[in-house]
């Protein structure tokens, strides 16, 4: 009987527990895994956009828990957007920046994160001190260079051959080519920035003066600016290039442009299409007077990567930076699209995989041949305001709204004011 009573008690007890359990609903909490989100911004064309988006995905794959938000645009939109973001503290965590931006956004070195403090996550041993120096500002490492760059003269050799023309070396060669092509092709088309560099090279060689001195002050006077403006008008009138506003990169593919001036890093995006279309593309010497040899031509870091001074995730940003500069995965995706990488590990990978070839590499070798005579660009030379003033004056002179002399004076005043403001 005792056993029966005990069994009954146990049974009723368990039923009671069951009923109690039915009456209550246990709260189930599932915490969502929150990824760290860092942003990456760059400028570029379709090719660069595609491989950089892939690279971001690859980085996410290799680093679970980190999401990379991509932010991209072509160059002109990018610099305006970056300016908005930099001044509103909404810039991306990792940014592709132009060399000039270090001076523009970080005159005291505080505008970007000091990458030296993140050296546990970024392998700096892949860079020579001279490369690192490009990104140093006030003792802080603001940015790391991806590749070295220079304006390069790309020639559609097939078309030049058709006209019995040699690859142009001198200014006269260029105008002679225009004459021979007689409006059927532009022998050396330039966009707005390339036009500025071409004009500067011509004016420096003609006058023997330096556009912007090493200390950041203006080397040119009104007279030199007049030379630039006259030269621009001559380029258009002679049919060397269309007006910069009407420059369309795509015309390189069709052969409408028989030559173009573009960054070394832009070799494939400017001339890849022409090569695909079956044209032979050659790298010309830097245009100069007979014997002047590349005077007035500049080198600079192609593009650089920087980390936002305001980033909430410096470690993760540094990991991404290291991935973009030093990893084999990125080297594989990027190849030589941005130029020949400065990072020794990325370059070693490209060498090993036989990718250091082609037009980009030929342009790189051309730059190396002349590097001892080329100067490092002044960051101010790519200042947007200066570029706009130059373009305005070019158009004013071209459309006869001003004489070259008047235009030169106006331009001198405008550029001088910009530089003064920048040095304040």
């Amino acid at each position: 009987m005792k056993a029966k009573k005990a069994a009954a008690l146990l049974l009723s007890g368990s039923m009671l527990c069951g009923l109690t359990a039915c009456g209550q609903h246990e709260t189930v909490v599932t915490e969502n895994k929150e990824n760290i989100v860092i942003s990456l911004s760059w400028w570029g064309n379709d090719v660069r956009n595609e491989y950089t988006i892939k690279a971001a995905q690859k980085f996410e794959e290799l680093n679970p828990g980190i999401t990379v938000k991509c932010n991209y645009s072509e160059w002109s939109g990018y610099q305006v957007r970056s300016n908005v973001q930099m001044v509103s503290n909404t810039e991306a965590d990792v940014m592709q920046i132009n060399y000039a931006w270090i001076e523009q956004y970080s005159p005291d070195g505080m505008g970007f994160y000091d990458i030296n403090t993140l050296s546990d996550h970024v392998d700096l041993s892949n860079f020579r001190q001279s490369d690192i120096d490009f990104g140093m500002k006030n003792g802080r490492l603001n940015a790391l260079p991806i590749a070295l760059n220079t304006q390069t003269v790309y020639i559609n050799k097939t078309l030049y051959d058709e006209y019995g023309l040699d690859i142009p070396k001198t200014w006269d060669d260029v105008f002679a080519a225009a004459e021979k092509m007689n409006g059927e092709h532009y022998p050396l088309a330039v966009n707005n920035k390339a036009a500025l560099f071409y004009m500067v090279a011509y004016a420096e060689q003609t006058s023997g003066k330096e556009f912007i001195k090493e200390d950041g002050s203006l080397g040119f006077g009104a007279e030199e600016f007049s030379i630039m403006l006259e030269f621009y008008k001559r380029l258009i009138d002679a049919g060397v290039t269309p007006q910069v506003e009407y420059f369309e990169r795509i015309n390189n593919d069709s052969g409408m442009y028989a030559g173009t001036l573009a960054w070394l890093s832009d070799a494939s995006s400017y001339m890849g299409g022409a090569e695909k279309a079956g044209y032979e593309v050659a790298i010309a010497d830097y245009t100069s007077y007979e014997g002047a040899d590349s005077l007035g031509w500049y080198t600079k870091p192609a593009t650089m990567y920087a980390i936002s001074a305001n980033t909430e995730y410096p470690k993760e940003s540094a990991m991404l930076l290291d991935f973009l500069l030093n990893s084999e995965e990125m080297a594989e995706l990027q190849g030589v699209e941005k130029g020949i990488p400065i990072s020794s590990s990325a370059r070693a990978y490209l060498e090993k995989s036989g990718k250091l070839t082609g037009l980009q590499y030929a342009a790189f070798e051309k730059m190396n041949e002349h590097s001892d005579k080329m100067k490092v660009i002044s960051p101010y030379m790519e200042n947007t305001d200066i570029l706009e003033f130059v373009q305005e004056s070019c158009n004013a002179v071209y459309y006869d709204k001003m004489t070259a002399e008047e235009g030169g004076k106006t331009l001198y005043e405008n550029v001088n004011n910009v530089l003064k403001k920048l040095s304040e």
Binding site: D46, E50, K69, C70, S73, G77, Y246, S269, A396
Partner: protein, 505 residues
């Protein structure tokens, strides 16, 4: 021998018990199986329904996301009309002054830049009928359409009222999605974005990573897919055949759970997940249900066994008691006449060889009537009970003892493996022991009435193969003992009946 009989009843009781247990176990197991199968199938049904409606809800959210994204671009594009230069300027008109044109294009370019500056749009510009453009126009777009740029963009305009339209897969290229809106009769506005941008639009929570999200056009070409490398290809046949022309639906079958929603006018958002992935979770539920069901079944069977044992054991005891009561003589505790006859009959028929012998002793109490008459029935009963004890003490427990009349008793004894002479000695010995026992019990201190036993014995199979036959012989032998003066025994030997004379043994 009495035990054997009892055993057969126990076996029957045991059989009943086992039948009860097995039957009960089968019913319980069947019931649990039915309940389990039902609950699992119901759970499957409910779960499919729930997952399906959840996925449908997510699909609607994704549709809203993409519509918002597209609508945002449309709105941004429409804002270009806030600047009159944009729609008034005609780049194709040769009368336009070149310098003024450049200034106007600057204004237009600035406006366009201002509007798209923070977005990842690949194209955001105005294309004129002479293919000249202002604003952003990517290399990809320029190469894709080439000299047909303006004409191809114009073709994208599909809505009459707003003079705009969406397109992807232009010239077989699915990398971008284009929006085109007419600006004036010689200009269109074009904006585009990479389909990879839709990753953010169609982002699902991590625990829904098994769901594939696709955006397809009216020809079932995939514009965007969360699965790799599908963009531009046709939607796989097994999904296409399921969704056909459905514009908004959720469906589940053995292979897929699919939800569809139309967005824009011609595109559809499709979420799909193989059913087995959902059912994987159900398998866990099924596994748990099976384990619980098995446990419940085992528990129920064990409880059933215990219960049936608890119930059948007392019944068995009761039946056994009743059985015994029916078979035994209440006074002496030995078989009554009927039972004795039955068991003896059965045992006689089972004698197998000449080495086996069955002996029936028939015993009659001499002068028992006087005991009853003079000492009362109560005392007589005591005497009879005592006789039962004498018989039990004299014979083995395997021998059958019975009271076959008022004062008449019988014993059946089986002898195995002995020679005839030895058997006879054994019979005689038992008879003598019995006579002696009567004498010592009732001729001791109380000599008021002397009782004794007259015994007749007959052996089977020599003198009978059945009880009646053997009894007849034994009774004849008993009669001979009575005739000889009582208190003696006679072993039946055919024609002659021998009394218990020691000389004759």
């Amino acid at each position: 021998m009495a035990k054997e009989n009892q055993n057969s009843n126990s076996e029957r009781i045991h059989q009943i018990k086992m039948t009860l247990i097995i039957g009960y176990a089968l019913i319980i197991v069947a019931a649990i199986m039915i309940v389990s199968v039902f609950s699992v199938s119901k759970t499957t049904e409910i779960m499919e329904e729930k997952v399906s409606s959840m996925t449908a809800a997510i699909n609607v959210q994704l549709k809203l996301n993409i519509e918002n994204y597209l609508s945002k671009l449309e709105t941004t594009g429409t804002l270009i009309f806030a600047t009159p230069e944009v729609y008034e300027y005609d780049a194709v008109n040769p009368s336009e002054d070149g310098y003024e044109s450049l200034n106007t294009e600057d204004i237009i370019g600035d406006k366009l830049m201002e509007l798209c500056i923070m977005e990842n749009y690949v194209d955001f510009g105005i294309v004129y009928s002479n293919n000249h453009y202002v604003g952003k126009l990517s290399n990809g777009t320029a190469s894709l359409f080439g000299t047909e740029l303006y004409a191809q963009l114009e073709n994208i305009i599909s809505r009459d009222r707003t003079e705009d339209g969406w397109a992807t897969g232009c010239m077989g290229d699915y990398k971008r999605i284009y929006y085109v809106k007419r600006v004036n009769e010689n200009a269109v506005f074009v904006a585009s974005f990479y389909t990879t941008e839709l990753e953010n639009v169609f982002k699902l929570p991590e625990d829904m990573s098994d769901v594939t999200v696709r955006l397809i056009d009216e020809g079932n070409s995939i514009i965007y897919s969360s699965a790799n490398d599908e963009t531009g290809s046709l939607l796989s046949g097994d999904i296409a055949v399921r969704i056909q022309d459905l514009s908004s639906a959720a469906l589940v079958d053995a292979e897929y759970l699919i939800t569809v929603n139309t967005c824009g006018e011609t595109m559809r958002v499709i979420c799909s997940v193989p059913t087995y992935i959902i059912l994987d979770e159900l398998k866990v539920i099924q596994g748990s249900t099976t384990v619980i069901a098995c446990f419940a079944a085992v528990l129920a069977v064990v409880m059933g066994i215990l219960l049936s044992v608890k119930i059948t054991d007392p019944v068995g005891t009761l039946v056994s008691d009743l059985d015994n009561k029916a078979k035994l003589d209440r006074l002496t505790g030995i078989y009554n006449k009927k039972s004795f006859e039955e068991v003896t009959e059965k045992t006689i028929s089972e004698l197998k060889s000449s080495k086996e012998l069955g002996v029936l002793f028939v015993l009659d109490v001499d002068n028992f009537k006087g005991v009853n008459d003079n000492l009362g029935h109560s005392y007589g009963d005591k005497v009879l009970a005592n006789i039962g004890t004498i018989l039990k003490n004299t014979f083995r427990s395997c021998d059958y003892l019975g009271r076959i009349g008022g004062d008449e008793f019988a014993v059946y004894m089986k002898i195995s493996g002995h020679e005839k002479n030895h058997c006879e000695k054994l019979i005689r010995s038992r008879c003598e022991e019995l006579c002696a026992a009567f004498r010592s019990n009732y001729t001791g201190d109380d000599n008021t009435y002397k009782i004794s036993a007259s015994i007749g014995a007959a052996a089977a199979p020599e003198y009978g193969n059945g009880f009646a036959e053997l009894y007849k012989c034994a009774d004849k032998a008993l009669y001979a003992s009575k005739k000889k003066g009582k208190d003696t025994y006679t072993i039946y030997s055919g024609s002659e009946e021998r009394a218990g004379d020691p000389d004759e043994s």
